[in-house]
């Protein structure tokens, strides 16, 4: 990955956060955090528990509104992002605790990922005929490609509530991919997985990035995964950014070792 990190880092900025501060009452979740995400890179956000990683993702996709700071997305300055704008403009995400429709099948969950791309009105959708049917077939084709890509053919018709956790995580990734995102935010995609599932997930993330050129920002606790996957790493600790560099450099950083790796290792 080192060769890739060199040329990606020189590329164009897709999203930048600038001086973000986020408080909940007296608690400061994020304190003056700035970093950028280049187009086409895999960007990791790491840090100890409570460092503000998930808050950062929530700021990026507009779920939280920071008290200070700005977000620039595709060169457009936004003082506040909101989830609808984020979704319509190609930012998709998965959640730390899987957030799928548990009673619906894998296939239906993936189809909901296409909801924003359905153009026919409710009337036509209800009729499920003519142009609405053509549209659905087209969306189904995209979803089937994702099913094939993620190797989840066997669970196409299974309600996701019945699936083991590792597979639910995979389905959630699938739903995010169904949006054909430009920027994919992954919140701890590997938690609760065994070694084989982790390896599969790493492969999928690399393939999404390599094959479709999707930019990825991910939060992850497994250091091995972070070091293998990412082009650049941001390290947060108590809401502050303490390091921002390529994985090899972050690993050597004294502040990072003190805050995080030293404890973990």
């Amino acid at each position: 990955m080192t060769d890739a990190s060199v040329n990606v880092a020189a590329g164009e900025t897709l999203l930048a956060v600038d001086g973000i501060s986020l408080r909940f009452g007296g608690v400061t979740a994020l304190n003056d955090v700035s970093f950028d995400i280049k187009r086409g890179e895999i960007r990791a956000i790491i840090g100890p528990n409570g460092a503000g990683k998930t808050s950062m993702l929530n700021v990026i996709n507009g779920f939280y509104h920071p008290q200070r700071g700005a977000i620039r997305f595709r060169g457009q300055n936004l003082t506040r992002m909101n989830p609808g704008f984020a979704a319509r403009n190609g930012i998709a995400r998965t959640f730390q605790n899987v957030a799928l429709f548990r009673g619906m099948t894998t296939l239906d969950n993936l189809m909901t990922g296409r909801a924003l791309k359905m153009n026919r009105g409710l009337f036509w959708q209800l009729l499920r005929h003519g142009p609405a049917m053509d549209e659905e077939i087209e969306h189904r084709r995209v979803v089937e490609d994702i099913i094939d890509f993620l190797e989840i053919e066997a669970i196409r018709r299974v309600p996701v509530g019945r699936l083991p956790y590792g597979l639910q995580k995979r389905v959630e990734l699938g739903r995010a991919l169904a949006m054909e995102p430009e920027l994919l935010l992954l919140d701890e995609p590997m938690t609760g997985m065994n070694l084989e599932e982790k390896e599969d997930m790493c492969r999928f993330i690399l393939e999404v990035n390599g094959q479709f050129g999707t930019t990825i920002a991910l939060i992850e606790h497994d250091m091995g995964v972070v070091m293998d996957l990412s082009n650049r790493v941001v390290v947060l600790d108590y809401g502050r950014k303490i390091a921002d560099d390529v994985p090899a450099a972050v690993k050597q950083d004294a502040a990072v070792i003190a805050a995080y790796l030293g404890v973990a290792g």
Binding site: R141, D145, I147, D148, F149, E153, A154, R156, R203, G210
Partner: protein, 656 residues
């Protein structure tokens, strides 16, 4: 009938050409992709295979070259066989789950010229061993996913090879005649395929099968079961296994029936239901897994459904097989059976994908009589055959309505079977192999002085002329007191319990019998859930005291069975243990066809065997395991030994 028609069809590509003329519009192959079943008619398959053969020859494949095929059941891999045979090259299929080292051995031994593989995983394996195969040219692949960043001077997709052949045909019409001439050059004594046997000892051997012989055998068996072009099969068995090559490839080319390939190995059960095959083969293990899954699901069903199931399965057990065999059954049970069909048997068969099955077979290992009878009692025409790769492959086969669970049926046409003085089954067959590739020594070892082939199995014929197989000839042993010890017989009895996935019995030259058990994760995990047993891993579950006690009950039941017969009474199990890991083909503990390699296991777990014949209650062991990518790791565990004599009335065992 077919016979006259195939008399001059001595190669599979010639049969393909015949099928394209005779059943041109009928489906030959189906494959589910992206959620949709795609199909190809015989005429389309012939066109594809012609173009494919030409494409292969443009990549340098020549008459006599070996063409390796590695992957799961996919139409283009089956076509790879036919395309290679068209040119007189020899297809060499490999097991999809073989590790790189095994792949390297076979590719090097067969001197593969080209290879067609399924996907990135297989491409990686072949590339990792390519230094051992100097003659290997381009590597063909079916699924492009993940191969974008590979060196494409080495790789080419099967689609591109076919397209290249098609383009060449369009540009130069004389090539059509050249292809026809190549087809005509094929002869009945050509080697049509080399099947590597998984082998319980030593390196795999390349079994050379003759083209005319293979077709002759398939013609016989197709007539035997009246298979025709309207039959349907689902191809899910390993391509490299002789059984799949026989049942899927050879028989479909002879009979003209349609072969459906599942979407992925995980969707086989679902695809089985969608296709509804009329002709089916499953090793005993598959039937066992299905029955276990059914039993587990019934246990979770409502009280009414459980009661219905119990009642009507009882009826089926008593009368089902007699009705299937068209014996005389009184009116009232017949009526009950008919109601059972409506309410239980047909819905159950439908859920398993067996609604339309006309002929089904099982073989490879002895099947538990109860398991076998269960499916037959539902009205499914399940039969057993006995055969060998070297015989390609049938030697005996049960006929409709003359089926007994403990035999493998009478000898089939064009085969002669003899039992040697020490009980080994020997045969001569019109379809037997030509020899082992580059191994005259082991070919000679496999034959008797008077030209019979040794099977390595011990067996005998009963009064009705049906063959009984007891065990591997070399595995039948004796206890120190001289009592007979047939390990497989004991293991099969144990394995009939859904909670026991695998059993390995020891006792040859010992004072008493002991065994290793493997839990069946599906069944035991389900039991654990319902009984409030918590666990974090396979190892923890397998070592749980209550699980061991559960299995001890099964062992006691087997002992009661063994005690009932004088011949086996001395072979009751005295001590056993539950293994901390699943026996696995990747670790060499099972063959690729999932048979236990007893000797290997006894050596690998020598410490545990010593423990079984010692006095200690636990044994510590560290085991090296191999992952599919070839990396190694270690599992260590403390394994508990269960002594049936100490907890039980010892008098019972002493008396035996």
């Amino acid at each position: 009938m077919l016979e006259g028609d195939v008399a001059d069809r001595d190669t599979f590509p010639k049969l393909l050409a015949r099928n394209a003329r005779r059943f041109g519009a009928r489906p030959a192959f189906r494959h589910k992709d992206r959620g949709i079943w795609h199909s190809w008619s015989w005429a389309e398959v012939e066109r594809e295979v012609r173009a494919y053969a030409l494409g292969l020859s443009r990549l340098g494949l020549r008459r006599g070259d070996a063409f390796a095929i590695l992957g799961n059941n996919r139409p283009k891999l089956y076509w790879s066989f036919a395309a290679a045979q068209w040119l007189g090259a020899v297809p060499v299929p490999l097991y999809a789950d073989a590790i790189a080292d095994e792949v390297g051995y076979v590719l090097a031994h067969a001197e593969a010229r080209l290879a067609a593989v399924q996907d990135q995983e297989q491409v990686d394996k072949v590339i990792s061993v390519s230094a051992r195969v100097p003659r290997l040219g381009r590597l063909l692949y079916d699924e492009p996913r993940g191969l974008r960043d590979y060196d494409h001077t080495q790789l080419v997709s099967i689609d591109d090879v076919i397209a290249d052949g098609r383009r060449a045909l369009a540009e130069d019409p004389t090539l059509d005649a050249w292809l026809d001439a190549e087809l005509a050059k094929g002869k009945g004594d050509d080697v049509c395929v080399i099947l590597y046997t998984s082998g319980t000892t030593g390196r795999p051997k390349g079994v050379e099968i003759g083209s005319g012989r293979a077709i002759g055998a398939a013609v016989n068996s197709v007539a035997f079961d009246r298979l025709n072009e309207r039959d349907e099969v689902l191809a899910y068995l390993p391509l490299a296994w002789a059984g799949d090559h026989y049942l899927t490839y050879a028989q479909s080319f002879v009979a003209g029936f349609c072969v459906s390939c599942p979407e992925s190995p995980e969707t086989v059960q679902e695809n089985l239901r969608e296709i509804g095959p009329t002709y089916y083969f499953g090793p005993p293990r598959v039937f066992e897994t299905m029955l276990t899954a059914t039993t587990v699901r019934i246990a979770d069903a409502s009280a009414l459904k459980r009661a219905l199931y119990r009642y009507f399965i009882g009826i089926a057990r008593r009368y089902g097989e007699r009705i299937l065999n068209r014996e005389r059954v009184p009116f009232w049970p017949r009526l009950q059976y008919a109601i059972g069909r409506l309410l239980v048997y047909e819905p159950l068969k439908n859920a398993l994908g067996f609604s339309r099955v006309r002929v089904a077979y099982t073989a490879g290992e002895a099947i538990g009589p109860d398991l076998f009878s269960f499916y037959r009692s539902l009205g499914m025409n399940l039969k057993q055959f006995y055969g060998q790769t070297e015989a390609f492959i049938l030697l005996t086969s049960q006929t409709d309505r003359d089926v007994r669970p403990d035999t493998v049926g009478p000898v089939i046409a064009d085969v002669e079977v003899r039992i040697s003085d020490d009980g080994e089954v020997l045969y001569k067959s019109a379809s037997q192999f030509l020899g082992y590739l580059k191994d005259a020594e082991r070919t000679a070892e496999a034959m008797t002085a008077d030209g019979y082939v040794k099977t390595g199995d011990a067996g005998f014929f009963d009064a009705a002329g049906h063959l009984h197989i007891i065990d591997r000839a070399k595995d039948v042993g004796r206890l120190r007191n001289g009592a007979l010890f047939a390990p497989k017989y004991i293991e099969n009895k144990l394995k009939f319990f859904p909670n026991i996935r695998e059993a390995v019995a020891f006792g040859d030259g010992q004072d008493f019998v002991t065994c290793f058990l493997n839990i069946d994760l599906t069944a035991v995990a389900d039991w654990a859930e319902r009984n409030g047993v918590t666990y974090g891993s396979y190892q923890e579950l397998a070592g749980h005291d209550r699980v061991i006690e559960l299995l001890a009950e099964h062992v006691r039941a087997v002992n009661r069975d063994l005690a009932a017969e004088t011949a086996t009474a001395a072979a009751q199990i005295r001590r056993f243990l539950v293994l901390h890991k699943e026996l696995d083909a990747d670790d060499g503990e099972l063959t690729r066809t999932q048979k236990v390699r007893r000797r290997f296991i006894a050596e690998r777990y020598a410490k545990l065997v010593d423990g079984l014949y010692g006095t200690s209650k636990t044994v510590d062991i560290a085991t090296e395991v191999m992952f599919e990518d070839g990396r190694k790791g270690t599992i260590s565990a403390r394994v508990k030994i269960y002594d049936l004599a100490s907890g039980e009335a010892p008098a019972e065992l002493a008396a035996a």
